[in-house]
């Protein structure tokens, strides 16, 4: 088939002798990858910290403000003296 013939020709064109790998690529990739990992770990830690701080702040607020307690009524005076 003509189509596969052409593809084979182009493949041959692409398959040239490979140059040896430059030695600096591996250490550089490891350095950048390690930095990426460290950044990711830091970001994760910061997010957890933020989450914990938010939880603590909410608990403290809830314990001081007690939003579940019915607020004292301002419109009707409390019935006293019965």
């Amino acid at each position: 088939m003509r189509g596969s013939d052409r593809e084979a020709t182009v493949r041959r064109l692409l398959e040239q002798a490979q140059r040896p790998l430059p030695p600096e690529i591996h250490p550089e990739a490891v350095r950048r990858g390690t930095r990426m990992l460290r950044r990711r770990a830091l970001a994760r830690r910061a997010l957890w910290l933020l989450l914990c701080a938010a939880a603590v702040a909410f608990t403290v607020w809830a314990l001081t403000a007690r939003p579940w307690v019915e607020p004292p009524s301002h419109t009707t005076p409390p019935l006293t003296g019965w």
Binding site: E7, R11, L13, L14, E15, I25, H26, R32, M36
Partner: protein, 167 residues
């Protein structure tokens, strides 16, 4: 905890080194074809490969049986596509080097030819990777091979003939 962490880091470093020793030569060749640089002077391809490898290294523990070569190739392709998009018509548009076999092609044609013919990625996979339809990938590949075979090894033409064989 710390001991396990260190053990995992050591294993990652060992496995990654073996992977680079085995696969990076071929990937560098693919990257050089993509950037259409001189095989002996290819700073853009090296940078592309280094960044893709760094990405694979950072994801090494989370690969879970996925092929690292596949991952790196994907990263390389998307990174190149993104870079080509940003450079398109920009000030730092790089000229293809005449020594490159793909100098006569546009960046997108190069990407598809390298993925399909050099790396042997299936049409559907390449299409999904680039966000194109498989028919479009086939058409571009056909047009690119036509352009390549019309001028087998000559230097890149100054103005590429826009009229290719209708696909």
């Amino acid at each position: 905890m710390r001991e396990r962490h260190a053990y995992r880091a050591a294993r990652r470093a060992r496995e990654f080194e073996a992977f680079v020793a085995g696969a990076a030569g071929r990937l560098l060749h693919a990257a050089t074809l993509l950037t259409a640089e001189d095989p002996d002077d290819n700073p853009r391809a090296r940078r592309l490969l280094t960044l893709s490898l760094a990405h694979t290294y950072a994801r090494w523990d989370g690969l879970r049986g996925e092929d690292p070569y596949d991952r790196t190739r994907q990263e390389l392709a998307t990174r190149f596509a993104r870079g080509a998009w940003h450079q398109h018509g920009g000030l730092v548009r790089s000229r293809p080097h005449p020594a490159s076999p793909l100098a006569a092609l546009t960046p997108q044609e190069r990407l598809i030819v390298v993925l399909r013919l050099y790396e042997g990625v299936a049409e559907e996979q390449a299409a999904a990777l680039l966000g194109l339809s498989p028919e479009r990938v086939r058409a571009i590949c056909h047009r690119a091979t036509t352009t390549l075979l019309r001028r087998p090894r000559g230097p890149a033409p100054a103005v590429r003939t826009a009229k290719a064989v209708p696909s």
